[in-house]
Symmetry: C2
Subunit: 484 residues, 2 copies
């Protein structure tokens, strides 16, 4: 295992073995392992696309321990892959094959440090599971709106490091917008304490922005002050059949206007998504009696106290949309249980795709005004690559974000399909970029899209990114090979 060049040239640098000894002392016996079996789940990603190696899995329990571990690695030039719930969809949280680094898991840093209900803030450590963060806010009659399919296992540190999106961005913004303060361990082992719960703070550069969405390449987020909101007092969902994507976008605009911007989620899915979920999750069912080609899961939320008029609002919106042909049929949830049934159809979409076989994901966004045009234009381009491929294009139409996923032809050889990966990427991403869109809307870059980023991003952006990386992590030890 060759040491990185920068270190080889420095004869005073400690050896890797000495550094690992130092780390073991810092974190104690509960804080590390090099057992192959224990390490395995930390060395490969959720989809099984990336498998790597590491010298050791390190699990510090405190910020000071993280800082100590990083300092040891910095001195010896040992690469570090920070890891939360390891639910990345682009290989951002697993190491490469070199095996010369460590995986630093934040799993033991899962304390709630402070809850200030009057300030609408919650201070948590990076290893808190997202669902637990949501629950903690709810206990205090508050709401933390970040919500995504992996919420039962992903961790808030990873959510922030990847600027996670999810289903509530339309109303509440991305993860970036839900953070007031951060605590970060820098690549040289120093701790940056930016844990402040302020709505307004213009004292110089907003340093936390550097680390949000940087996928652990510039700093390791160890804790955060999260922004809370009033807890919803009423939520109503409708599962609607719509004639096409354009109608869905029009429906969104009307629902926003007529409800007074009460639309919390607006998820589009074609029939194929429903079919795959119904097939692979036998406890789910089609909410509508007839079969349609496209659907929208629309959810209104109210935080007002007193009697709610949300159900009436939703009915009125759907009625007028039905009259104008924007909605073909719809079911409104009559209970929380039924609402959860609707959500199962959406939340199991990724898992169903995985169970169905080979698929290629495109997590893209375009301006909302162009989403219908994009949907068709990209499909034309994709069919030129493989006419038999199946389109699983679903997602957060309200944010212009589609998971424009491609599924191998039914019963086909996945390998032949996956061999065209790059051609499919080119087909979809070319259209995205032509429309001023993004080739990674919410999943990030990681290893999966690093080459794509280099291909599509303009040279000035790439140069600025490299400048930041070199300035903050000159030794390049934080999550090497990711993003840039």
């Amino acid at each position: 295992m060759a040491a990185p060049a920068a270190v080889a040239a420095d004869s005073t640098a400690p050896t890797a073995d000495a550094a690992l000894d130092r780390i073991r002392t810092i974190v104690g016996p509960k804080g590390w392992t090099d057992d192959a079996e224990a390490m395995r789940p930390h060395l490969e990603d959720w989809r099984g696309l990336f498998k790597g190696k590491a010298r050791m899995l390190v699990k510090p329990a405190t910020t000071e321990e993280v800082a100590g571990v990083v300092a040891a690695c910095h001195d010896a030039g040992i690469p570090i892959v920070p890891q939360g719930g390891n639910t990345s969809l682009c290989g951002a949280s697993t190491p490469d094959d070199a095996g010369d680094g460590i995986v630093l898991s934040l799993v033991r840093m899962n304390r709630v440090r402070d809850l200030d209900a009057d300030n609408y803030t919650l201070t948590v450590e990076a290893g808190c599971v997202l669902a637990d963060v949501q629950a903690k806010a709810a206990d205090a009659d508050r709401y933390f709106p970040l919500s995504l399919a992996a919420e039962g296992s992903c961790m808030i540190g990873g959510n922030l490091s990847t600027n996670a999106g999810g289903t509530n961005v339309l109303k509440y913004g991305n993860a970036r917008e839900l953070v007031l303060g951060l605590e970060v361990v820098l690549p040289d082992g120093r701790i940056w304490n930016g844990l402040r719960g302020l709505r307004k703070d213009n004292t110089g550069y907003d340093l936390k922005q550097l680390f949000l969405g940087a996928e652990g390449t510039l700093g390791i987020i160890t804790a955060a002050v999260l922004k809370l909101f009033p807890k919803p007092t009423d939520v109503r969902s409708a599962f609607c059949a719509v004639p096409n994507v354009a109608a869905a976008v029009t429906l969104l605009g009307r629902a926003r206007a007529e409800s007074g911007d009460a639309v919390e989620t607006f998820e589009f899915m074609p029939r194929l998504v429903l079919d795959l979920v119904l097939k692979h999750f036998p406890d789910t069912q089609d909410p509508l009696q007839e079969r349609y080609e496209q659907y929208v899961l629309l959810e209104l939320v109210s935080t007002a106290s007193g009697e709610s008029d949300l159900a009436a609002k939703l009915e009125a919106i759907l009625e007028s949309a039905f009259e104008d042909g924007l909605v073909l049929d719809a079911a409104i949830s009559q209970s929380e249980g039924q609402r959860q049934e609707f959500w199962k159809l959406r939340e199991n979409a990724s898992e169903a795709q995985k169970l169905e076989g080979a698929s290629i994901k495109h997590d893209v966004s375009v301006p909302v005004s162009r989403i219908a045009e994009f949907y068709d234009a990209a499909w034309e381009r994709v069919q030129q690559v493989d006419g038999a491929c199946r389109l699983v294009g679903f997602g957060h139409v309200g944010d212009g974000n589609l998971h424009y996923n491609l599924q191998a032809p039914e019963g086909s050889d996945g390998k032949a399909f996956l061999a065209k990966w790059e051609d499919f990427n080119r087909a979809v991403h070319d259209v995205v970029v032509e429309m001023g869109g993004s080739i990674s809307a919410e999943h990030g870059i990681g290893r999966l899209k690093r080459e794509e980023l280099a291909h599509y991003k303009d040279p000035v952006s790439l140069d600025l990114m490299r400048t930041l990386k070199a300035a903050l992590d000159p030794k390049g030890i934080f999550n090497p090979g990711k993003v840039i």
Copy 2:
């Protein structure tokens, strides 16, 4: 006029005179002046605290011209002070006394480049006046929520460069949250084109965050894609007398909950603010018959189509608050004209203070949960400095942001009062920092608070800021002497 050290050492650098010639050629006769009279308003700040010198005032008409001017300055090592509406309250947009640089005004870059109503985005150049931006959005039945007292003259480029706050942050966030894309000229004259109108884009580091709130020290913002919102269909304002700051904070929480988070603004002001405005603006009047010690301007907004229940909501909130002693008396606006009357009382607060004589501003924030405690604790500390000083502590209680301003004793010598400037600063800012607050909530740092920042900010933050500055602007030509 000594050339900067970096340039003196570089014998191949063009002379300043040659660079100025190059600039004159780039921008043409309409694009520059060195006439003393024409330059005067650009060399001093609105409050008259800072007066400086410059070789030339340059007014490029396009991004390419800005880039050309910056490249010429970069090559010759000439400092540049970017300037929008020059409404900074901390001396961020005027040059210092050295007189070796230029002022680069964005005033001629005031085009609207694109309006995409379906995408809820507006693309404007930096020199657009904020009020014009608001109007342009309104013309398209959309809403741009950034609103502050200087909106008739401040420019959007400056608003973004300073991450402006204002009266609508509670509901819509700071200027930073209202931007989807930026176009920026970098310190070496390259153009970074990040003009994308996407709600979700995780393709690497979010570079625009670097320039938002950096006060022109890292890049010159030339254009931006702004986020629009549904246009309010109804707005109702109440001018309320409250017993104290704590009651105001409680009222805020209740109004948010009972209205379904429809509170757009929540402005606190003590009687003295009202007295000063009534005194210096004879066309204003007290909305209430009796005299009270503290007031809140509360505004609810609705974007729902159809019949509005906002007036009834506001009445119900005030009635129950009155019963519980949180509100002593209140007037509800019965017309848009009356609403504007209420706003005059708030928006002329700064100007009235100026007309009244010497004052010292403290634009601070603390967690909302501590604002009442802060209000009293800081006052105690201030009175130890000067028992006769008057407190003009008003502002955006909903964001934890107070303009905790101090006014010289009535009829007193302003000079004696201003001589204690540093002692007053220390009194207020010490309490702010003890409570985890910010010594500059929305105005920024500029020249005014540079020393304060160095005093209060932790060394790691300062070092990170210097690292960024050195990485992006190694010659230090962008807005030197500001922020850090």
